[in-house]
Subunit: 201 residues, 2 copies
């Protein structure tokens, strides 16, 4: 469909990537609503017209950014799970990794909050993203409970909502006050409380 | 200091309140960066000049909004604690109450996220707000642990960060997808797991 577009060539793809990266920086600081296409074009040394060749609108640019972020996140979670025996360890590793890339978590925090407005162009993507994250977490928690690694007294779907909430909330507090709030340590403490009760007492 | 300003009269105060309420609505949808003073003035049927009489800039208006929200929140938490025997019950009551006022929690979610940028005029207020919330929670959790109502295996300061994070994160998921995510029920489940282990086994 886009075969004849420049984005199908190697140079086109690399230009497109440069635009996406610049847009991430600018959305992370200004939000989607505060950001302008001109600022993104300036940052990559393109004209506005040149940029519109790759992304025909600010909304398309936002959707492009969200798609990249989503692919990155899925890859990261899968990698963290593959590297760790237990889901709890994978989540702590993910939080530690995210803490190393403040610009990216800031982008996510700002866009997710803006998109609670149903009129925001990222709204449906974020709704879908959280539904899919909750479903994935729930499935994994069920397995962990069956295998005796997570306290079975809490419903898997509730724990899924809670763990995602904790990670988002820690991210917000950390971004506001990095010296006071660590993203990984409190999560690890919570998860150790959620290990099954019997072997510990 | 502002004795001669119109806000010191009853009419002035009520006009000021109307402006604040309109600003809350508009900031909640557009964010601080996306909102315009003209939109707020329109919403209350004032000229821009009339509005500037009460709040000399958009930043001052934002600070006014944050101050109202902060006073409301403190009053609410205190009320919830006074009404409930246990801190856990107070937090669940607060979550349930907040769920009834989506416009207000949306305002808070959007402004808090925007303000992670150190250049945002609400930044310092939010940093301070979270520090003070963490300190208040920590103190209360210490008491609850001493009185045997919260599991003493977790550090009070860590649990304070975590509970605030959970409440913020649940708020975000609820705002995005109200039919799928309840703000109070998962929190109540988590808190019941955090009751001391010994009496239950």
């Amino acid at each position: 469909m886009t075969r004849t577009q420049p984005s199908s060539t190697a140079r086109g793809r690399s230009q497109r990537d440069r635009v996406l990266r610049a847009a991430m920086d600018i959305f992370a600081t200004q939000g989607f609503r505060g950001a302008s296409l001109d600022a993104v074009a300036d940052a990559v040394g393109m004209t506005r017209q040149g940029l519109l060749h790759y992304f025909p609108s600010k909304v398309q640019l936002l959707l492009g950014v969200l798609e990249v972020r989503n692919e990155d996140d899925i890859a990261l979670v899968e990698q963290a799970i593959a590297d760790s025996h237990a889901f709890a360890d994978a989540l702590v590793a993910l939080a530690r990794h995210n803490q190393q890339r403040p610009e990216l978590i800031r982008l996510f925090t700002v866009l997710a909050a803006e998109s609670v407005d149903a009129g925001h162009p990222g709204h449906d993507r974020f709704v879908e993203r959280y539904r899919s994250a909750r479903a994935g977490f729930t499935e994994r928690i069920e397995t962990e409970q069956r295998e005796g690694r997570i306290d079975a007294r809490i419903a898997p779907a509730s724990l899924a909502v809670l763990l995602i909430a904790v990670m988002d909330g820690l991210q917000l507090q950390h971004l506001l006050d990095p010296a006071s709030v660590d993203m990984a340590a409190p999560l690890a403490e919570l998860l150790s409380l959620l290990a099954p009760v019997s072997p510990r007492t």
